[in-house]
Homo-oligomer: 322 residues x 2
């Protein structure tokens, strides 16, 4: 008889239920989830994004429970990259495995995710967590890697001015990552309590939109709404760069004459590589624990999802206390 | 009494009329136009773009007639950069004078242009034409500089695949410029006679749209229509670059989820610097004369504008044969 575990299962509705403990496929390990973070993408999946059915969740920290293909991993504290690529195609062979067209994505596309007692991932996706990074910090590795992906794509010279639009979880991580590169960072948002987290770290914030005459070298849109991209295109200076960090849904309407006349560069940016994020956490370059709103047991998963859906919430973590 | 000259004057309607010969301001020279090219931007100006009133025209080759501030220029054959910047602001001082917010633009904004017997420009805007570059070649310096601007903004490695969308004048110049960097260039268009110009130069062309599975490292949109940008975003591979070379008017609707998920970079690109363009013409790296559709005297300017407005036309030149 198959072993059972608690999981949040989504098939049009999300409910906490018993599911089979997954069996590691070839080159996979079984990981016992310790904490899992609820991300806006998860909330969008519950609205039908990616037509996903199964166990959502892609931000986690856990402990390797079984690892038939590398027994030395058992007992290690790990985080895991979420793209499971084919390893064979042109993209995989040129180091762009996160863009493999045949990839599965943990808890997002074709692969059960981390809102469960256990999950499986290829052992090559796993990264051991440094000792000085707590579980509560490590669960931010995935979103922090996404924030740090900007630095892989764009060179930010030291004297650059940077505006970050949006004071959600991603915006607060991105503002800190930008601050590693330049002192001239302003985060624009609408919620005092969230912006206060950045103020505590010495990062400037504003409750107003960027003025019409404010012109930044870089503007990172983390608002999640099309208006953010439009604001970014207004707030960037000629020859400057807008980083589009939000996945906008549906079609959006833009005035595209200005980006051409002003020779703006717009860079779409998504997932990132884990090692730089773990290093930044280990070196204390980015502080994440102030972002935790609440820790809720997996058994109360529906409550946790509802709380995460509140626009005033920051990060809600699921805790596997079974 | 002021000297008079023939010019195309636009004040809601374009007509050939007598205008005062302009008097060089401080640091300006008076240039006698030899050839002037009619560009799509000129046709858009006649439709109300930039609310311009005056003498349009920004592509020209001519001979310096008067140059009070540098007499050594008199008699020189010149082309001229079209942005007249303030020289004082942050942009001018950091080498981005083409983005000076207080700039005038020859025949486009605040400054009478080249569809006239004479025009004035600051002597710092003028570039002498190399001997081996004919007048019929030199008049393409401005659009060629715009095409070559892409190389200033984007690094195109030798093995890159490049799609150029649009077989208008700009598309044909851009395809040739891309071919300097890589052999894998395809120009997509709809007019056999125009694409044949590129085939004659050994550049691949297609009368079909890029297939859904064709994925290029770089896609340059020179179509001038929003559908071109949408096609470019479909035809570029993950982590690839779309260069938006067309100035689109009004708002355009885009699916912006894919550019983020695929981490596409979109680069707006406009005017370029003249010296590299003159060098490319002088070295025969780009061939422009096959682009000339017809040469028409300035006195028949309205006929020339009508011919240039025919979508099947390539470059129509005005000739100052007075």
């Amino acid at each position: 008889m198959k072993k059972k575990m608690l999981a949040i299962y989504f098939d049009g509705n999300a409910k906490v239920t018993d599911r089979d403990v997954p069996v590691p496929n070839r080159q996979e390990a079984l990981v016992r989830m310790q904490y899992a973070g609820i991300c806006n993408t998860d909330l969008e999946i519950l609205e039908g994004y990616m037509s996903f059915k199964g166990i959502p969740g892609h931000e986690f920290v856990g402990v390797v429970a079984e690892s038939p293909w590398d027994k030395s991993l058992v007992g290690k504290r790990v985080v895991g990259e979420i793209n499971i690529s084919c390893g064979q195609c042109h993209f995989c062979r040129s180091g762009l495995d996160r863009h493999c067209p045949d990839r599965q994505v943990l808890g997002i596309s074709g692969k059960d995710g981390a809102f469960a007692e256990f999950l499986t991932l290829p052992i090559s996706n796993l990264h051991e967590v440094p000792e000085n990074v707590s579980d509560g910090m490590a669960v931010f590795t995935e979103p922090l890697a996404a924030a740090m992906e900007i630095l892989e794509q764009v060179d930010i010279p030291k004297e650059s001015t940077v505006a970050v639009l949006g004071d959600g979880k991603l915006g607060i991580l991105v503002a800190q990552v930008m601050k590693i590169k330049t002192d001239y960072v302003v985060c624009f948002g609408h919620q005092k309590n969230k912006l206060a987290i950045l103020n505590d770290m010495g990062i400037e914030t504003s409750l107003e939109n960027p003025g019409w005459d404010a012109k930044y070298n870089f503007v990172v849109d983390c608002t999640g709404v099309p208006e953010g991209l439009r604001t970014a295109l207004r707030a960037v200076r000629p020859r400057g760069t807008v980083v589009a960090k939000s996945t906008y849904h549906g079609e959006i309407t833009l005035d595209f004459a200005q980006p051409v006349v002003h020779e703006i560069t717009i860079v779409g940016s998504r997932c990132g590589s884990f090692p730089p994020a773990l290093e930044a956490l280990s070196h204390g370059e980015v502080r994440v624990e102030a972002l935790i709103r609440e820790v809720i047991p997996l058994s109360r998963g529906q409550e946790a999802l509802a709380l995460a859906g509140n626009p005033e919430s920051l990060k809600v973590l699921l805790h596997n206390n079974t």
